[in-house]
Amino acid sequence: MTTPVVGVLALQGDVREHLIALAAADAVARQVRRPEELAEVDALVIPGGESTTISKLAVLFGLMDPLRARVRAGMPVYGTCAGLIMLADKILDPRSGQETIGGIDMIVRRNAFGRQNESFEAAVDVRGIEGDPVEGVFIRAPWVESVGAETEVLAEHEGHIVAVRQGNALATSFHPELTGDHRVHSLFVDMVRANLAPGS
């Protein structure tokens, strides 16, 4: 079986940590900043960062429409924190002009867990991840306010939805890429492999 090529949207954010986690999960990981680079990957990770900045740069450099087209066509995609916001069909409280790629039928609330002083670590049980809970690192993190019928809730923290999946799109409010535990990235790479398998 060929090794899947997974891009990391490298406009801004913790790109390096995702590249390391993907490589550890047996994918070929590369940065994506241009439409032609997007065309060459089997799947994409949207990292943590500032969602307003990532959204603006994506529009500015002509990436927003190609991103939407690929996600709509079923390209596997995984977003953490700002990446989760980028994959939401709707933001509850967007900044003016803030656009998302969409792909997951959900409404998100930005910085829902508070400012940096309220940022925290907590153990999170994620459906589909075997063994110990995932160490959830939440940094000015969003949560998912509500989901549509097709969106599967994978984890909650204190009653708030913090991990979801719809089809080939996966999103978490927290940052597995900061922990050295690559099980969530392995889950995503498995999704990518399944998508590449003949007959899928």
Partner: protein, 303 residues
């Protein structure tokens, strides 16, 4: 459908991972100095990843003289209200009460900054005592590691703030990178003496030798005035840039801010940097650092 799993453990705030992880989220971005809510909005609209709230930009601190202190709480609160991106603010070196005040106001990062007049000539603040993370300036690796040993979760070059002259930022970043590269070549026997020379804890020195980088995010600051300056700092190894006086002391701040953001993301693409540099209006005038009297060199503050 079974019920959704939910975590049980008590959440923990202010951990090293949460503090350092916050800086990881800022990588590849531009942090801009702003003095009011209106400038903060311009910065956010231009794509800044965070703003630094301060009463006077460094160029004005230089011009006005006097003692430079933490900004007024109401001004910081107005900026926090105005934008959704993270807000940073500066405390004087060693003025841990200013830092306590900034933490209570809810700022996202505290810059223990040489741009303000130092409050203590011997001690920096104990940054482990705070849940709010700290960024500190450094001119070399030893200084960076001493700040990290005190709890800093992010390091920036000091450069020479308020000059619009990138030469000192280049010097400091090259110095830090060169010293890291040298450590990489040392064997274990040599690391003890290296720690002594660097005046930094052995454990941190060993960690840097193994990682080949600082254990925290490294940004550049002090003197960036143009898109090409920002791209230069990134090509030299900075993971992002602070821009102080360079934006709001220029002819067209909104345009220059957006241009510096673009050049910071596409730092290795001269064509995009060229496009971003077109029709920006006047850059800030700038000061030649070699004509700057010793007493006016902010980089000498801190140790």
């Amino acid at each position: 459908m079974s019920s959704t799993p939910s975590s049980a453990q008590t959440p923990e705030t202010g951990t090293a991972r949460v503090k350092r992880g916050m800086a990881e989220q800022l990588k590849g971005g531009v942090i801009m100095d702003v003095v009011n809510a209106e400038q903060a909005k311009i910065a956010e609209d231009a794509g800044a990843v965070a703003v630094m709230a301060l009463e006077r930009v460094p160029a004005d601190i230089r011009k006005d003289g006097g003692v430079a202190r933490m900004s007024a709480p109401n001004m910081i609160e107005e900026i926090i209200e105005a934008v959704s991106i993270p807000v940073m603010a500066k405390s004087r070196i060693g003025h841990f009460v200013e830092a306590q005040v900034l933490q209570s106001l809810g700022v996202d990062y505290i810059d223990e900054s040489e741009v303000l007049t130092p409050a203590d000539e011997v001690n920096h603040s104990d940054k482990f005592a705070f849940t709010t993370p700290f960024v500190c300036g450094a001119t070399n690796l030893g200084e960076a590691l001493r700040r990290i040993a005190e709890g800093a979760a992010m390091i920036r070059s000091k450069g020479e703030a308020g000059t619009g002259n990138v030469v000192e930022a280049v010097r400091h970043l090259r110095q830090i990178k060169n010293e890291i590269a040298r450590l990489r070549g040392f064997d274990n026997n040599e690391l003890y003496a290296a720690a002594k020379d660097l005046r930094a804890p052995y454990e941190l020195v060993r960690e840097v030798a193994e990682l080949g980088k600082l254990p925290v995010v490294l940004f550049s600051a002090g003197g960036v005035a143009t898109p090409a300056d920002a791209a230069l700092m990134r090509q030299l190894g900075a993971e992002g840039v602070f821009v102080g006086s360079g934006i709001f002391k220029s002819g067209d701040p909104a345009k220059r801010a957006a241009a510096i953001v673009k050049a910071t993301t596409f730092y290795d693409d001269p064509k995009i940097i060229a496009d971003a540099s077109r029709n920006l209006g006047e850059a800030m005038v700038g000061i030649n650092c070699d004509t700057l009297p010793e007493a006016e060199r902010y980089a000498n503050r801190g140790w």
